[in-house]
């Protein structure tokens, strides 16, 4: 396995009006790793994601990322809308899909950056635009097929079961050609069978789509099964960064979850 670093946080802190949601956090993740980010409720996990994807810009510290040309860049220099084209894609804790668009169209929204046509071309449906639309649709259908939901592509998102919606969000993230995919609680709301399927899926994402995976998850079983390494935080503070096995033995982590033995 390669050990090239991909994303690295150095002393990242984020304040919400005096409340330190993230407190001096540092860790580095390498290419093709599957990393879990765990912590009790309110530990600041989603805030970390929002800092990485530049939804929050007021953080201090440094978040660096190795782009497609192997250059290390400071993510703060990019707008939130430029993050996707850098190769960082994410899903959301609460499903963020467009209910009155079909599943296929929802996935196509992820391909936004790959269209090289403008509104004028869209109005007149130029041959170039049609060709591109066809290619990208094909790509979207391929992804949907790999996630086993191709047969649902023409259905509206509204009214679909939770497990399907999670997959659509995943497909939308995958079509952006990500190098790093950030999953916010991918197993929340899934039943046991779907969670098992998700496990296989995460491996598939890493291997077939050649990506690194960073995920927040409460399902410890899932985290321990699939993650190469796990970052544990509490109240925004770094607790441990180790293999799942060692994390389970780490007494800081145990304290955070179970409380201190007095």
């Amino acid at each position: 396995m390669s050990k090239k670093p991909l994303l690295s946080l150095e002393n990242v802190s984020m304040n919400f009006g005096g409340l330190k949601a993230v407190d001096n956090l540092s860790f580095t993740i390498n290419e093709k790793e599957i990393i879990g980010l765990i912590g009790p409720n309110g530990a600041g996990k989603t805030t970390v994601f929002n800092c990485v994807t530049q939804f929050y810009k007021q953080y201090t510290g440094n978040i660096s990322y190795v782009n497609r040309d192997d250059e290390t860049v400071d993510l703060k220099n990019y707008k939130v809308t430029q993050i996707a084209s850098l190769g960082i894609a994410r899903t959301f804790q609460n499903i963020e899909l467009i209910p009155d668009l079909s599943i296929l169209d929802n996935v196509l929204i992820g391909a936004f950056n790959q269209y090289q046509t403008n509104v004028i071309a869209h109005i007149f449906r130029t041959p170039k635009m049609r060709q591109q639309e066809k290619e990208i649709k094909q790509k979207a259908e391929n992804i949907l097929e790999r996630l086993n939901i191709l047969h649902l592509k023409d259905f509206y998102v509204a009214g679909q079961p939770y497990g399907i919606l999670k997959k659509v969000e995943l497909a939308r993230a995958l079509i952006t050609n990500p190098r790093l995919i950030i999953l916010d609680e991918p197993a929340a709301g899934l039943n046991d069978r779907e969670t098992d399927e998700l496990e296989a899926l995460v491996y598939q994402i890493r291997d077939d789509f050649d990506t690194t995976v960073l995920l927040i998850e409460h399902d410890m079983g899932l985290v321990m099964n699939i993650c190469d390494r796990v970052v544990a935080i509490n109240f925004g503070k770094f607790l441990a960064y180790d293999t799942p096995l060692n994390i389970q033995k780490n007494h800081h982590v145990q304290e955070a979850y179970l409380g201190k033995d007095e």
């Binding site: 994807t53 196509l108 929204i109 992820g110 449906r125």
Partner: protein, 352 residues
């Protein structure tokens, strides 16, 4: 014979799958209806039909804003008025050709749309709605302040040369149908344009910014850019409606016509026709503008009651068909199938 059948079914398949062709078909039907109307005794009704078509176009532009992008505008009518008045100045005072004047007026409105769009970056909901009302109100006041616009009084265009040497006058009875046909063709083109936008990355992005800003941002869609775009498109389409008003009625319309009242009427066409609906705009326009003018006014007992009935119609549709009047069609279909099933069951029972 077999071959013809295959070709026919193939054509039907193509037709079924192409909404653009549906618009063309509706256009042809509208033109046929127009021809029937002008040959009949109440031939002036063609004016009302033209109005229905024009407001269907304007409403579709507003629908792109409201239904797709979740933004509201209360000055749609004002942009039509700006267009008619500036076209008059361009064509009569500066002797610019019809098409060129139309293009320039639409660009002006597009730029005004950009200003509204800038406000929309800061405001939402009713704040934004009233901010758009401000812009419409101010521009109409500007028209009323200057002599070059005849201080907002209605002015009739002299003979208009539309393109090449195509000249028609609404004052000549037999030429109205040609003008009407022109308006319908323009409507079909505009419907296709907006449908194409809707079914493109642009359309999907417009929906993304209104339904899930976070997802839009994470996928690289700039909320600001697409809000601006939504307003520019909507005002340009409203302006196109103004161009059609000039093309058919050949007047600027008095400044009082282009106020909040008409903007609300256009908004009600969208709500009654159904958000995100295309054919619904024609239906809505017919219900709100066509029915009162065509039928209610002619019934002696109801004279003066047309406003009340339109008002009641609006209230009833909103209370019972919150997703628009096109929904009535589905309900009728359901009733039909229910009746059919019942009939079949009865037949089966009788046969037993």
């Amino acid at each position: 014979m077999e071959k013809a059948k295959i070709i026919l079914t193939k054509m039907y398949e193509v037709f079924k799958r192409s909404p653009q062709l549906h618009f063309v078909f509706v256009g042809i039907v509208l033109i046929i209806i127009g021809r029937i109307v002008v040959s009949g005794s109440s031939h002036t009704n063609i004016n009302i039909l033209a109005e229905v078509v024009i407001y269907a176009v304007v409403a579709l532009g507003l629908n792109l804003l409201l239904g797709f992008s979740g933004l509201v505008s209360l000055s749609t009518a004002a942009f039509m008025g700006i267009t008619t008045n500036s076209m008059y100045v361009f064509m009569v005072d500066y002797e610019i050709s019809f098409l060129m004047a139309a293009l320039m007026a639409m660009i002006i409105c597009g730029l005004l749309g950009l200003i509204v769009g800038l406000l929309s970056l800061k405001m939402e909901g009713i704040y934004l709605g009233i901010a758009t009302l401000f812009i419409g109100h101010i521009t109409i006041r500007v028209i009323e302040a200057f002599d070059i616009f005849a201080r907002g009084n209605l002015r009739r265009f002299p003979q208009i040369t539309y393109f090449f040497d195509f000249q028609r006058s609404i004052l000549i009875r037999d030429q109205r149908i040609d003008l009407y046909t022109l308006v319908v063709i323009a409507m079909v083109l505009m419907f296709i344009v907006i449908y194409n936008i809707f079914k493109s990355p642009t359309g999907r992005s417009l929906m993304a910014i209104s339904r899930s800003q976070h997802a839009a941002l994470a996928m690289g869609i700039s909320v600001r850019k697409y809000r601006l775009l939504a307003f520019v498109i909507a005002t340009t389409v409203a302006s196109f409606g103004g161009v059609l008003h000039v093309a058919y009625f050949q007047t600027t319309g008095a400044s009082g016509k282009w106020g909040l009242g008409l903007s609300l009427i256009i908004l009600s066409v969208v709500v009654i026709g159904g958000m995100k609906s295309f054919h619904g705009m024609l239906l809505g326009s017919f219900i709100i503008i066509g029915i009162p003018a065509l039928y209610l006014r002619d019934i002696p007992f109801l004279s003066g009651f047309d406003d009340i009935l339109t008002g009641l119609l609006i209230v009833l549709v909103i209370l019972f068909y919150p997703y628009g009047a096109m929904q009535i069609g589905y309900d009728l279909k359901k009733l039909y199938y229910k009746a059919k099933a019942k009939y079949k069951a009865r037949v089966v029972k009788r046969d037993e």
